[in-house]
Amino acid sequence: MPQADIAHSATGAAPSQSPWKFLRLHFEFARVGFVNTLAYRLRYYTGIVTYFIYVSVYYFIWKAIYEHSVSIEGFDFAHLLTYIGVGWIIRSLYFNNIDQDLAYQVIEGRLAMDLIKPVNIQFMYVARAAGEAVFRLALLTIPTGVVLFLVYPLRPPASWGNAAAFLVSVGFSFLIVAAINFAVGTFALRLQSILGLLRAKFFLLELFSGLLLPMTFFPHAVQKILDLMPFQYISYIPMLIYLGKLHGGGLARAMSIQVFWVAVLMAIGDGLWRWSTGKLIIQGG
């Protein structure tokens, strides 16, 4: 196995770049992400079916639960159904595969190509994922949304203001997920195969982001711990905004914490990347 001895030049983005150049460059990465996904556009039709199945399973479970109670933890059935349905709709948007991409780069030995690019690798991956997200929005998120709103009695956002804040908040969700995926993906550089780890992360995010059920359903002690973690800012917080359960100071505070986590997680990802590329063996190449 040829050993790549690459200094940290790869991690330090050219610092003197003008913001305009920076944007243009990353717009280009986003375009590449968009075009790459174009090749798989047919797969998105079944993606709609998959999301429909997920929501349907949970619809029936919750329906069975609400046969006996009007309201659980402050959610009546209509609220909860909207929480779950819209939660899955936005998941189709913020979801990305940065971790898997990184893992496959390592497995297939193409990582060297990333290392020679004089840009910040994390920004590059996030920009590419953003391009993909635009694609998903058109081919997956909107069609899934239309289908789910037609089939299930989902509610519209609480108000125009909430709708606007919700959209911004989902943007932050995307960045949080992207940063987590990048950080987890960097482990692929040290561990040869991380597909099991990725699977574990997948279920962890599903559960602790509030996608499957609102955080208030968790036992209090667990809630306290989860409050200190970034996960609930992915799904739970945007959905509270959508339902109008957060407004004014609470809303501003929640969204600032989202921004805080984006910054912290990206810094962690950057650190992990430096650490991982410190000693690196490229397989085969």
Binding site: T46, T50, Y54, V57, A64, S69, L191, S193, R199
Partner: protein
Amino acid sequence: MKRHWRLVTRYFAQYAKVRLAYKADFIIAFFSSMAATVLGFGFALVLFTKIPRLQDWTFDEVMFLYGFSLIPLGFFNVVSWNLYDFSELYIIEGRFDRVLLRPVSTLFQVVFEKFRLESLQEVVTGALVVGICARRMRLEFGLGDLFWFVVTVACGAAIYMAVFLILTAVSFWFEDRVGIVPPVFNMLNFGRYPLTIYNVFIQFMLSWIIPFGFATFYPTTHFLGRSAFTLYFHLIPVVTAGFTVLAIVVWNRGVANYSSTGT
């Protein structure tokens, strides 16, 4: 038969050699996948802190069903790897030519050429959960029940195999560009909760079109002593046999229809 058995052991030995080259890797894969499986229980665990029962199904019963569903799935996943990429690897890349040249059944080769041993973690996790729930409910497990347990697990794995074989065989007729496997794979989720919570349409579909109900729900009703589903329980071997035969017929038709891409 004997020759086939020897071939399986050879295939497996080959796989084991490749896998053991990275021992630590295998152990990491096993335990991280197991963590993922355990997290899958999270939803039901959290939910039942708020509700006493799901319809008339208790916490232990729901967990028993979920745990049971993992056991046949785990066995199926050990040999299912080739089915997911079949169209890509065998049809488009043309590897199926090689399979046809050998004097052994094509189906046998495709299924046993690759393993995914870490999927046994699903069997382990499922069996543990079933064991714990059975204990908590004080279920009596006689020799007869044990026999049925083994039979229904085998039937469940065979049903999964049959369903995904039929879907895989579709790629003999047309390249599966749309990807029909993932949505059906996600339907496995339906089978993890009591069938009675769904509407009639889904109940019918999970019994007679994509019979996952016979792999998970109907077997568990027997062990949980719910006599309302006795008839369905006795139909398990029949449904399994029916779908297995159907899968083999479809597969053989597909093979007859195969034309190489020439690559």
